[in-house]
Subunit: 222 residues, 2 copies
Amino acid sequence: MELQLQIKMNKKLFLRDPEQTELGKKIIQHSIEVINKNGFEAFTFKKLAEDINSTEAGIYRYFENKHKLLMYITSWYWSWLEYRIMIHTLNVKDPVVKLKKVIQLLTATVEDDINTSHINENNLHQIIIAEGSKAYLTKHVSADNKDQFFKPYKDLCAKVGEIIQECNPAYKYPKSLSSTIIEMAHFQNFFMNNLPALTDFGKEDDTKVIAYLEDLVFSAIK
Amino acid sequence: MELQLQIKMNKKLFLRDPEQTELGKKIIQHSIEVINKNGFEAFTFKKLAEDINSTEAGIYRYFENKHKLLMYITSWYWSWLEYRIMIHTLNVKDPVVKLKKVIQLLTATVEDDINTSHINENNLHQIIIAEGSKAYLTKHVSADNKDQFFKPYKDLCAKVGEIIQECNPAYKYPKSLSSTIIEMAHFQNFFMNNLPALTDFGKEDDTKVIAYLEDLVFSAIK
DNA sequence: ATTATGAGATAGTAATACTATCTTTATGAA
DNA sequence: TTCATAAAGATAGTATTACTATCTCATAAT
């Protein structure tokens, strides 16, 4: 049995579906590399085009601008993460076990997913950590939200919120706690590797971040 | 008695000290307005120059680029916040009361500080919420950190971490909890006003964010 | 045989992110 | 009064960015 994981993306994020063509897949694959390497600010379609031996105009046929491309790949990540959470919590009855699994999946360095040939999930994880919030920290966030560009992120947050409520139906802040876990799983990782004074962890020690988040969450929901 | 609050800024952040001249103060004052109005991405020195009837080249005499200017104003904010925390916790013995005050100062909409004539603290608070993390989410964060550009942020985080440890000396994650509170005070505010599905709060309701953070923190440190 | 699609090639434009230089104006010390 | 100097206005120029437009060409479906 051979399976290919296909995540359905919001059509308004692209002009031409990158999953449908060779160049499209190369754009996704290499943009993840180039953004990860130089950062989103230094990333341009021209440099990406040089990297894949295509042309700037060719990339503009797929994406209106680099911000749409960032929203595309971050959306893809959140959908993929929700899918992984679904898989790993199937048949798990205990919501506490589920929530621990969620924290681990959010925080731990990812192994490359063989079901998605052209996407390097490890690089993508790094992009989410360092660039992810730039997808919504803009003046057009409300317009983008109306276009449903953040649906995968919100769905994930809702899902984690539900698990929190399963653990403790009386807890008053399931959605805020959920977004706090999601953001902090990434920010604490960024801090420990770049601004260590802001954390209690040593470089590249995921397990401590997991322990911190578990302690925080289970104290809050008792 | 007339006092003027002067915050000592890292000299490497600017080329010419904006506090020392009229144009300099106008640059700070108006950049806070223009960044708040159009967002940091759309902000350019040319537009700022038009806004203050000066020239692009004139602004470049003060700041190397717009990112340094962003780090300048965010640094200023963190220093000002630490000062306010200091003032509001003077003579307070109980660390729990102190920590509650910190959460309130971090979260609540600010009233304009009369001691700093040319800075609108309310606008500045909005910039911290929407643009603050862009100051460090870059590929040159480590180099910037070596230049001590994030010292005010780290000092604030250390200060809050100390109060956390006063509350519970056995708590294992004072610095991470501190950076979590600081970031979430701002992110939850951004979410509730722009992506409400990610929170449990209604628009512009600071008090709920404060209640959430207090619950989170005091559960964690017992 | 025709037509549509993907994509390479090339050109052009307005705005951005600077750097350089020259002049004017205000201040204050010799 | 003269002279020096610092702040800032005025102007020009450059490389890069962020696009848009058009034309060609290969392939594949009808």
